[in-house]
Subunit: 488 residues, 2 copies
């Protein structure tokens, strides 16, 4: 009855792809590496986007929109940026097609070559800072707290839906400040917003930390991140917030007159999360029966399925329940589609991760009760119809809490402190998860560990305690532990 | 004090650009023909988008997201589509940059040429119908009622901010149906949604009509449109809804098994509105002092300006008023910025088209009154502070109605019935506006009139009465009048 999906312990990658496809989240497209986000997947993204957008606006940010294209020369203006940033990107070279004189199709018109090639934005620091030059002249113009929701393109070689696609949707905040401290504060504020969103809405516990110099965003002075742990023991970077110093201001000559009438370069931050979060969400909560969604961002929070089929009394009772739930702000779907059997629907809503399913049959109605199934534990109970809206409201909160707790417990169990490199390798191989270990701070050491084990330093946790120790590889002194893991 | 803008009767085009710039709506960018939508302009677009999105969802539509890129060969699959559609588009030919071996910049890596060029979507019928082939197999899969909010690119030669830009933001609905009638009903339903949005939210009266074959969307069987009249007497196509027949289904081989188990091609519609609506909005209501916005979509509905500057009592009173207005769901800004004088602020909010301005000074406070200025008529009155929220709520409704009425009156005055070609030319030259005239239905005649006068047939109004007449150019018989105008 259920659409079959591969079990996690059988083939985790295939399990993931099965869920993406069978829960109607996304589909492959005719364009290499680009996906189609299907309506159900997009409804989830809309809920995530809208909540993030509210949080951005509550912290004083406004939205704007900058061009899709970046002149090629812009990319080389900030030296670190061009050096470190991946050069795999979509390049526009022509601006016209013409009918093929030898056939029926169209060809690129060779006479319509652009003077300067345009790059489809892989990120927008360059075009935005080129614009900020015109917008900023005095301290009165600062801070600029601007966010953009946009599509970006990075020509990734190996793609996987949501996790790594050539085109993806994201938001990118780009702020401009009069002082270094204000920019650092902003960087950390947005890191907190991301962490709060991940934990309170996605029910996904995250570690806030700072990246090593080697893992920094190209052009940043400091990159902060939130890191989550997936069910296969691999880490996933779920969001980044960069303190950019004055690098982009210098590259694009963005200066302001301060209160003392002295000219200074502007301080910058940028921060972003993307549709990758949907991949993280799937891998945090879902199980072998399909998607599991936290109630706070689920497109449908409650589904009501009539059993065996709607009869007038049943229909009336179901609509009353629907109204009572809606009055509490709960998103309900009452499924009256007669072309599908209840059993098929049960499996389908399970696959789609709907947090609560209510099933109502004539016998239940006679007894004034209704079957309540929760998706997270798959527990089923009968509850009185009277006051069911209060029960369900409470249940949704329980599910939200339970999902977070389950993921937090998993992470606790899969975070291991090690003090020797043998232990390091053993834990990585046998258990996975985060490895908390001392590191001597050298990029060389970091790269060597990566070479030997494929594990990377996910971050230096912001709350890492000062602790004397010895680097797990070199034995050199270290003052705090960092988190290693295999990562997406 | 006010940032100067050109008067309409002096230079209408410059007036428009001045408003776009000085009301902080948009800015030019470093990329030819692409604009930056500034935060204030984008907030307006967000309000318009959110309202349209609610209306789409209320009529059963869902959102999804399809790739930015379209394989070049897709464009030639639907013969009419490739023939009629403008070939000016952005063509991606390479997927990698490399460091220039002769210098410091980056160049396109010649070894990274794509096998097939990708076109940045100018519209998405082709990629979407290529996807629908996989999604549709049975009548149970229909209808598909999908919308997409996206950026699109058309390499326009002459661009003007909002009205015609190389990249613009829009929504494109793409629906699939089992029957011709259902698809036609959908086409007309969405036309009604557009008309309702234009009239009730943008306060912009529109004519619903059908395009002549010559003005049809490439690949459509019938194109419906809403046409608005701007203050310079030129018409503007504000939205289109296309009945696509089975053309795209045939081009992309999209069939379904009907209830009788017989295979049929799917019926299609597509419909869209874009950031062009912002241009239309500006040119419908604004005046020589700046933008004028209808309350229902204004980013800020009411601004409270303290005069001469906030004092504790003033501040307390202003905050109470703000709370009372917010409690009514009104968007209020209380401007406490001490770096700008009230007079500057008055002019600035006028420029930005904020519908209602409240100014509160100490003397007003003593008399328990407040100055209320409405942007549409520029009328100022004093009103009691007590119950001001009710007064303002009513006033916002009045302004919304008044703006619509004013525009409707203008349109009535500028719609002229003519029966001879001399009259036609005279009205076009001296008065502008819509010209209601008989036309013999021949494309040749339509093109001849365009050649002679530059006027085009905007639409055949859906409510055009049957009326025997003679074509204004050829004298051939005609059964109804059509609307001609100069157009954007």
């Amino acid at each position: 009855m259920a659409k079959e999906i591969t079990a996690r312990n059988e083939d985790y990658s295939q399990w993931y792809l099965d869920i993406v496809k069978k829960a109607d989240m996304a589909d492959n497209s005719a364009v290499r590496g680009c996906m189609v986000i299907k309506p159900y997947g997009f409804a989830l993204w809309e809920n995530m986007r809208d909540q993030l957008d509210r949080m951005f606006k509550d912290t004083g940010h406004v939205n704007a929109y900058f061009p899709l294209f970046i002149p090629k020369s812009f990319l080389s203006k900030e030296a670190e940026h061009v050096e470190g940033f991946a050069k795999e990107c979509a390049v526009v070279t022509h601006h016209r097609l013409m009918n093929d004189p030898n056939g029926k199709g169209v060809i690129v018109d060779p006479s319509a070559k652009l003077e300067e090639e345009l790059i489809v934005r892989p990120t927008s620091e360059t075009i935005i800072w080129n614009t900020y030059r015109d917008w900023i002249s005095s301290y009165r113009d600062l801070p600029l707290l601007i966010n953009q929701w946009a599509n970006v393109v990075r020509w990734e070689l190996r793609t996987r839906m949501f996790l790594r696609t050539a085109e993806f949707l994201w938001q990118e905040g780009h702020t401009a400040h009069a002082t270094q401290q204000e920019a650092i504060d902003e960087t950390l504020l947005m890191l907190d917003v991301y962490a709060k969103f991940a934990e309170e809405y996605m029910a996904m516990p995250v570690i806030k930390g700072v990246k090593t110099p080697n893992e920094r965003f190209a052009g940043a002075e400091e990159t902060y991140c939130i890191e989550a742990l997936m069910q296969d023991g691999k880490a996933l970077q779920a969001g980044t917030s960069h303190f950019l110093g004055q690098n982009f201001a210098k590259a694009f000559d963005v200066k302001f007159l301060n209160e003392n009438n002295v000219e200074e370069f502007v301080w910058a931050t940028s921060w972003g999360v993307s549709t990758r979060l949907i991949g993280a969400l799937i891998m945090t909560h879902s199980d072998d029966d399909g998607l599991v969604l936290p109630p706070r961002i689920a497109p449908i929070q409650v589904v009501i399925v009539p059993v065996p089929k709607p009869a007038p009394e049943l229909d009336e009772a179901a609509r009353k329940i629907m109204q009572a739930l809606k009055a509490k702000g709960i998103t309900v779907k009452y499924d009256t589609d007669m072309r599908k059997r209840p059993g098929f629907k049960f499996a389908d809503y399970e696959m789609r991760g709907v947090p609560v399913r209510l099933a109502l049959g004539m016998r239940d109605l006679e007894q004034q009760q209704i079957e309540v199934a929760r998706r997270d534990t798959k527990e089923k109970t009968f509850q009185p119809i009277e006051g069911i809206e209060n029960y369900v409201e409470q249940l949704l909160e329980d599910i939200q809490r339970n999902l977070f707790q389950r993921a937090a417990d998993y992470r606790t169990e899969h975070t291991t402190r090690v003090d020797t490199f043998d232990e390091f390798k053993q834990v990585l191989e046998e258990k996975g998860g985060f490895i908390s270990a001392h590191w001597d701070g050298a990029t060389e050491t970091e790269l060597k560990i990566k070479e030997l084990t494929k594990a990377t330093i996910r971050c230096i946790p912001l709350d890492a305690a000062e602790e004397e120790g010895r680097c797990v590889l070199t034995g050199n002194p270290s003052r705090r532990r960092v988190l290693f893991a295999m990562a997406y």
